[in-house]
């Protein structure tokens, strides 16, 4: 019940604020419907909603196609260097959307992007790809979320009961037919959940469409919300009303996802029977599949990372790379006391906080996930709502909720943890649900029959089976928390500043190369922590090599 209050109170504040002429508590504020009329019926907002849904669906579908194809290549074929490729597939998630966007602006701005300038020099063609376009927005998102889709689908493919696929091969179906007729339906719940989560993440993102869509007049609801908050005087109430639109979109998405995964028993794949999946032999084609994955990694990791590193070594961003343009000054600022505090806080919040959130989501999923009927439905909807509310608005909702409460939360790490808990609950609980869906009730039942308590059966039977999923969840939460900025920027204090807030402030003050240096450091720290976690606890290998 306490969790329900924590989840719903900020969202309720947002809804309440959306019906006010001023922020809640403001003495001269009154009741109004105008914010809702504007957010739901004005042509610019309706058009932005259509754009949001179209963009979210396009990115989610393409990310699943790209990520799913790579997951199949790595999980089921004899493509060379699969484990190394699998580990590299996590790297795109280590660079935030905002930074990837800036890196791609440096690469593919129509007149001065590195790629366009290089190609122009060779061929005379002025612009081969303009990042300021719908295609550009989709590209940046897909490069990021294909990696996310890969992780989910790779784990699902590894969990599929091999005997079912083996039966398909026995009746004469080939690898393609088996994948289409047997494997795909078996991993359908994961596909549906991943589609929904990517859709929601993209639908609530403001940085990519704001930076890349504005020049071509493409606006999404979050980019309008960003404007509502940026304009002077800011319009948080209208922004709150716009944020509620996305809640309905997420609820509709959840209805569709629930229908799709209604019979989750069908997808129980870990039954206690040993199984080993058949490896598809590709012959010479295995080099082509290797090339395909390498191409993705080139576009999603190597090029943007290279642009970031080069950018971080420049006085200002320019395609004219003369020696005089280079400097190491941008890295010097990393070592100030303030910035070292930010690094420590980020590590604490992402490492320790990520662990705590993993435990909470798993326990929530365990306690509620198998609940049928009304509670099960309520849980599904309640957990997606805070994730669907754009982070900027969620931050405002948290301020409105906690600033006046006589509890020592506001201005502490605790409010940041609440923000991260809410931001990731839709993903966290669903991931844990997916893991539990794969545990056969027979195994738990067998443990109970030998006298084990419900908790003992959970700890001794369910946890070892879902351990890879738990490691995978912690890994993702670590990355998400380490890079979260939209809600944090409203809630941090000098004592709780994080790396992304430092990066954001450098961006805002016009020091893009310095922000790039922070982004490079951020990506490297994430990489080192995940490497150490892998070395000591085999986190990545366990979650990938299930």
């Amino acid at each position: 019940m306490l969790l329900l209050v924590v989840i719903l109170a900020p969202v309720a504040s947002v809804f309440y604020g959306s019906f006010r002429t001023g922020p809640p508590g403001s003495p001269d504020a009154g009741f109004t419907l105008q914010n809702w009329v504007t957010a739901y019926f004005s042509p610019s907002y309706v058009s932005a909603l259509i754009n949001t849904v179209w963009l979210g669906a396009t990115v989610a579908a393409l990310s699943l196609v790209v990520g799913g194809t790579i997951a199949w290549i790595i999980a089921r074929t004899d493509t060379p260097g699969r484990m190394q490729l699998a580990l590299l597939m996590i790297v795109p998630l280590m660079i935030s959307n905002l930074i990837t966007t800036l890196a791609w602006i440096a690469l593919a701005a129509p007149n001065a992007g590195f790629i366009n300038a290089y190609v122009r020099g060779w061929t005379g063609v002025r612009t081969i790809f303009n990042i300021y376009s719908f295609a550009g927005i989709v590209l940046v998102h897909v490069l990021h979320y294909a990696s996310f889709a890969f992780l989910a689908l790779f784990a699902a493919l590894k969990s599929v009961d091999a005997s079912l696929e083996e039966a398909s091969y026995m009746v004469g179906y080939g690898p393609v037919q088996t994948s289409a007729r047997m494997t795909l339906p078996l991993i359908a719940p994961t596909i549906a959940t991943t589609f929904l989560v990517i859709f929601v993440f993209v639908a609530e993102n403001f940085s990519v469409p704001t930076l890349l869509g504005t020049p071509v007049g493409f606006q999404t609801l979050p980019s309008l919300i960003y404007y509502n908050m940026a304009v002077t005087p800011s319009q948080p109430n209208l922004a709150a009303a716009s944020g509620t639109v996305l809640v309905w979109v997420a609820i509709i998405g959840t209805i569709l996802q629930r229908r799709f995964t209604r019979h989750s028993d069908r997808y129980v794949t870990v039954t206690g029977k040993g199984s080993r999946q058949r490896e598809v032999r590709l012959g010479q084609w295995r080099y082509a599949t290797f090339g395909l994955v390498a191409l993705y990694l080139l576009l999603a990791v190597a090029l943007p990372y290279l642009a970031l590193v080069i950018g971080s070594l420049l006085n200002f961003l320019t395609p004219n790379l003369r020696w005089s343009a280079f400097t190491l000054d941008n890295y010097r600022v990393l070592f100030t006391e303030d910035n070292l505090t930010a690094v420590t806080n980020s590590l604490l919040l992402a490492g320790g906080g990520g662990l705590a959130l993993t435990a909470i989501y798993v326990l929530m999923s365990f306690a509620l996930g198998r609940v049928r009927g009304a509670w099960g439905r309520v849980t599904d909807y309640v957990t997606i709502i805070p994730t669907a509310v754009p982070a900027l608005i969620l931050g405002v909702g948290l301020i409105w909720t906690f600033v006046g409460l006589p509890v020592p939360i506001y201005g502490t790490m605790a409010i940041l943890m609440i923000a991260y808990f809410l931001r990731n609950i839709g993903y966290g609980v669903r991931q844990a649900d997916n893991a539990f869906n794969q545990v056969s009730g027979d195994l738990v039942e067998a443990a109970r029959m030998t006298g084990a308590s419900r908790l003992r059966a959970f700890l001794d039977v369910s946890v070892p089976i879902i351990k890879p999923a738990i490691f995978s969840l912690w890994t993702m939460l670590f990355i998400f928390i380490f890079m979260e900025v939209s809600a944090t920027i409203l809630l941090y204090t000098p004592a709780t500043r994080t790396m992304p807030t430092v990066l954001w402030n450098y961006m805002g003050s016009g020091s893009q190369p310095r922000a790039f240096a922070i982004a490079v450091a951020q990506a490297n720290i994430i990489f080192i922590v995940l490497y150490l976690a892998e070395r000591w606890f085999k986190t990545l290998r366990t979650s990938l090599d299930k």
């Binding site: 992007g113 930076l211 071509v216 002077t232 005087p233 016009g510 020091s511």
Partner: protein, 368 residues
């Protein structure tokens, strides 16, 4: 004997009674504060030693500042050197987010911020009227004209000047001459080469649209729209795109976004046409400041010759009367600050946001 002692006792009592005033004139009792006091006497005429003592007793001041990080950090470092007994803490965010947080905290009675800054003078005026700002007249008050302060409430740290900026690799000197007047931006020569910053970005990005519309009418925007300028979401990415050569001209560039790039060698220049457009960035003390004396001391310091100069050198054009511009760019022969500034009503500019944004969308945003 008793009669003889009377004058001595009276003298001693008199001296005792006069001790605070004596101490005041001669500085704080704590000898460690002597260097700070010496600086105050020199640059904060009239500020009492008791302010220093009380500020040191409070020990901390919290500043809510904008994204002008370098200028603020330089001033804070200098302040701490002068007043090591006061620790400065800071919170930085974009204008809208910073305002929302501070207003929510104030309304809820959370006393966190001591000093607040804002690039929208209309917002500060409104807060002064609402009683959320402390009325404190700084010792250097007379150095600020009425247009750049609300006496006793806020004082301008800078004028954030708006200009027309161009990339010198992409625009010839002859072409650049067209950009010395506001009317020059409507020249067909800039079709497909220019960019504008969306007024929704607020603050310094908004004011030129308000003034252009009032001064030149909607036709001006219509002509500009016919050139199909690229629209950029905010000041910073616009300046970065100009420096990299992705766009050739920005019609409403902010000098605060251009200066850091220019100082690092970017091939850019800008004009500041007449009448000048330059909203003030102000600083005030919160009425609910948890450290009011430390806040007053910081407010005093920020507008001394030293404190102001350090901030202004990195932060923007000076708004203090007769203050010599410390920025290296001010020494450049091409750099000219406007002689006159477009007058405008700060409250009206705040109220007309919707109308101005609609006009912008009609002629430029949606006319693409």
């Amino acid at each position: 004997m008793l009669n003889m002692c009377k004058p001595i006792v009276a003298t001693l009592l008199g001296l005792l009674a006069a001790a605070p005033a004596f101490a005041q004139a001669n500085g704080p009792a704590d000898a460690r504060l002597a260097p700070s006091w010496a600086f105050m006497q020199q640059q904060m005429p009239g500020a009492p030693a008791s302010l220093l003592e009380a500020a040191c007793k409070e020990g901390t001041v919290m500043i809510y500042h904008g994204t002008w990080v370098d200028a603020q950090e330089a001033q804070i470092a200098a302040f701490q050197k002068r007043f090591p007994c006061v620790k400065v803490e800071k919170f930085s965010a974009d204008t809208g987010q910073r305002q929302e947080r501070w207003v929510s905290e104030t309304r809820a009675g959370r006393r966190i911020a001591d000093i607040i800054q804002d690039s929208d003078p209309g917002f500060l005026d409104k807060q002064a009227s609402a009683g959320t700002l402390l009325n404190y007249k700084i010792s250097n008050d007379s150095a600020f004209d009425d247009e750049v302060k609300k006496e006793g409430y806020w004082y301008a740290l800078r004028a954030a000047l708006v200009g027309i900026a161009w990339n010198t690799d992409l625009v010839s000197d002859d072409e650049a001459k067209l950009l010395s007047t506001w009317e020059g931006v409507t020249n067909p020569k800039w079709a497909g080469r220019a960019a504008v910053v969306d007024p929704s970005a607020g603050g310094v990005a908004y004011l030129p649209w308000y003034i252009w519309l009032n001064r030149f009418g909607p036709e001006f925007l219509q002509k500009m729209g016919a050139l199909k300028p690229r629209i950029v979401a905010a000041i910073v990415p616009a300046s970065a795109a100009l420096a990299s050569g992705d766009i050739a001209v920005i019609f409403n560039a902010s000098e605060t976004g251009l200066l850091p790039l220019y100082q690092k060698g970017a091939p850019i220049r800008w004009s500041l046409p007449e009448p000048g457009i330059g909203p003030m960035t102000g600083q005030a003390i919160a009425a609910t400041a948890p450290h009011p004396n430390a806040a007053k001391l910081y407010q005093e310091y920020a507008f001394t010759e030293e404190g102001y100069g350090i901030w202004q050198k990195l932060g923007g054009a000076p708004a203090k009367r007769g203050f010599k511009d410390q920025r290296p760019v001010a020494q450049e022969p091409w750099y000219k600050i406007p002689k006159t500034f477009a007058p405008y009503d700060r409250a009206d500019a705040s109220e007309k946001v919707k109308a101005v944004t609609e006009a912008y969308h009609k002629y430029i945003g949606n006319a693409r």
